[in-house]
């Protein structure tokens, strides 16, 4: 079993790593050629992301979009998840369903729906419509983590706080919020990272007026190759790994992804 496990893990690991290794390799080529193994060594293509105005603008746009849309997703998900946990209202589950739907259906559907909507309302192309679009599209992520977080709270903690004199508001502030905080952070992190990488919704809503990094790479791909694409890919991979690594450190990642908690 151990040999088998090692073999399978190795093959899967190789399959997952190979394209990334090559991308990392071409990102440090000295000249603007697509070559692997890399010829020479240069970090200039990483510098490009921050010095070339086009790439830098795309990076800034991506970060701004990710930060605001993840916040919006959280602001939608937190009260909804809290309400569903606190109250007995089976009909309200319809909103849970609505929150999960955009992420379950093929993304092109949400993208097209939002495109027709923004076009019909005459708001098409405004930068903030992308933030709302992504906020709705990624509401699933904080909603799922928060629902899990709430269900992990022992309800007798809330009752205990009430017997000690805390009203609903105080209980939320002093008990519920501190306990749910790791789930808020991870929900935000998931939405942030996925928004950073999202292409089609952003493209369909603001693709002609604003360039996020994925849109920029796609557009650049059509005119040929530049190693900056590779350096951006590596940068995004590192951001994702760092964020998820932090989530794992902060909270219980296996539990967040559905395993039973370790101490049970």
């Amino acid at each position: 079993m151990t040999v088998l496990r090692r073999l399978l893990f190795f093959v899967v690991g190789l399959f997952l790593a190979l394209p990334l290794i090559v991308v990392a390799g071409v990102s440090i080529n000295q000249r603007q050629t697509l070559a692997f193994p890399p010829q020479g060594f240069s970090l200039a293509w990483y510098g490009q992301i921050f010095t070339n105005p086009e790439w830098r603008n795309a990076l800034v746009a991506s970060l701004a979009l990710a930060a605001t849309s993840a916040l919006l997703a959280l602001l939608i998900a937190l009260p909804l998840a809290w309400f569903l946990w606190r109250r007995l209202a089976p009909w309200a589950n319809i909103f849970q369903l609505l929150g999960v739907a955009p992420f379950t259906l093929p993304p092109v559907i949400t993208a097209l729906g939002l495109l027709t909507f923004w076009a019909t309302t005459g708001l098409y192309g405004q930068a903030w419509t992308a933030a709302i679009s992504h906020g709705i599209f990624f509401v699933t992520l904080p909603l799922v983590t928060l629902s899990l977080g709430f269900s992990a709270i022992d309800r007798s903690l809330v009752e205990a706080a009430a017997t000690m004199g805390a009203d609903d508001r105080t209980i939320f502030r002093t008990v519920v919020l501190p306990l749910i905080l790791p789930y808020i952070v991870s929900g935000y992190a998931f939405a942030f990272v996925l928004s950073l990488n999202e292409y089609i919704v952003a493209y369909m809503t603001v693709g002609f007026t604003m360039e996020t990094l994925p849109i920029k790479i796609f557009n650049a791909l059509r005119y040929g190759y530049t190693p900056t694409m590779a350096s951006v890919t590596v940068l995004f991979l590192v951001i994702a790994a760092v964020v998820f690594g932090l989530v794992a450190r902060l909270g219980d990642l296996p539990k967040l992804l559905g395993a039973l908690s370790e101490d049970k």
Binding site: L20, V22, R87, L105, P106, G113, L115, T233, F236, G258
Partner: protein, 284 residues
């Protein structure tokens, strides 16, 4: 704390913002899209309110049938490939040390979140003539000359499997972590080898989970739109690509919307099936 039904209007307070946002920016756009799918297309990218079935009637063309057939075939192939490797992989992962699990989960999440554009770019690099894997084969003496492996069906299939594999593992993970480890152990004490125990006990016990996962991955693969464009030829385009193409480049919103509605119906039917399969599992 006993959960109680909301008593006063104030109790509904927390629901206002989420419900309003989801209704305004998901339900309404969705309804708009459905409405547009019945609209009359005008020349020059505009459309006028109407109730025509022309956009749906276009499904009956041979071209559309081919695209739909290919999309479904591609998604099925990707789903089977992912689940075939994903089940044993996730099973072994769920039984690994906690640290190992966390490291893999972080890696899988990172790849899952990686933009489709970047995955497409990475594979087009790996399959390129100048920086690709064939250079390694040449160096090993397996090939005489490096060559480009894209555009091709194999490239599309490989990259989509790459994209869907982390998703597969994460969908399977909860069920496999919760799987009673004594199940396989019992089979071992009855004389089954580990591999035999996996196929005779673990796989049958997970039949419904596997079925549900197949459907989930299938839907996930249906949503792929960039990889067929970046790594395939036009005959490898999927319904998602076609929808984007019609909406953006052909400026035929009503037809794009009709196709999207169709895709929704297919997806919803499959999600329903997946949920049903999941229920069966719980009922057992």
């Amino acid at each position: 704390m006993r959960r109680e039904p909301p008593q006063r209007l104030g109790d509904y307070g927390p629901l206002f913002f989420p419900a309003g946002m989801l209704t305004l920016f998901f339900v309404v756009p969705f309804a708009t899209m459905i409405a547009v799918s019945f609209f009359q297309r005008e020349q020059g990218g505009f459309y006028t309110p109407a109730f025509v079935l022309d956009n749906y009637a276009r499904f009956l063309s041979l071209f559309f049938g081919k695209v739909l057939g290919f999309s479904l075939f591609l998604a099925v192939a990707v789903a089977i490939a992912c689940v075939a490797v994903g089940v044993p992989f996730t099973y072994l992962l769920a039984r690994s040390a906690r640290k190992t699990q966390i490291a893999w989960l972080v890696a899988l999440l990172s790849i899952l979140s990686l933009s489709e554009v970047m995955i497409g770019f990475a594979w087009s690099t790996l399959f390129s003539r100048t920086a690709g894997i064939t250079n390694l084969f040449v160096w090993l003496g397996l090939m005489s000359q490096a060559q480009a492996l894209t555009p091709s069906f194999g490239a599309v299939m490989t990259a989509m499997t790459y994209q869907a594999f982390p998703y597969t593992v994460l969908v399977l993970y909860p069920a496999l972590v919760r799987l009673d480890p004594t199940l396989a152990e019992a089979a071992r004490t009855l004389g089954a080898s580990p591999v035999k125990a996996f196929f005779t006990v673990v796989v049958p016990a997970l039949r419904n989970t596997i079925l549900a996962t197949l459907i989930m991955v299938f839907i996930f693969a249906l949503g792929s739109y960039l990889l067929p464009q970046l790594l395939g030829r036009p005959q490898h385009w999927t319904l998602s690509v076609l929808i984007t193409d019609q909406a953006i480049y052909q400026s035929n919103m009503p037809f794009a919307a009709a196709m999207a509605v169709f895709l929704v119906l297919v997806s919803l039917a499959l999600v329903g099936l997946a949920v049903y399969a999941g229920r069966q599992k719980e009922a057992k």
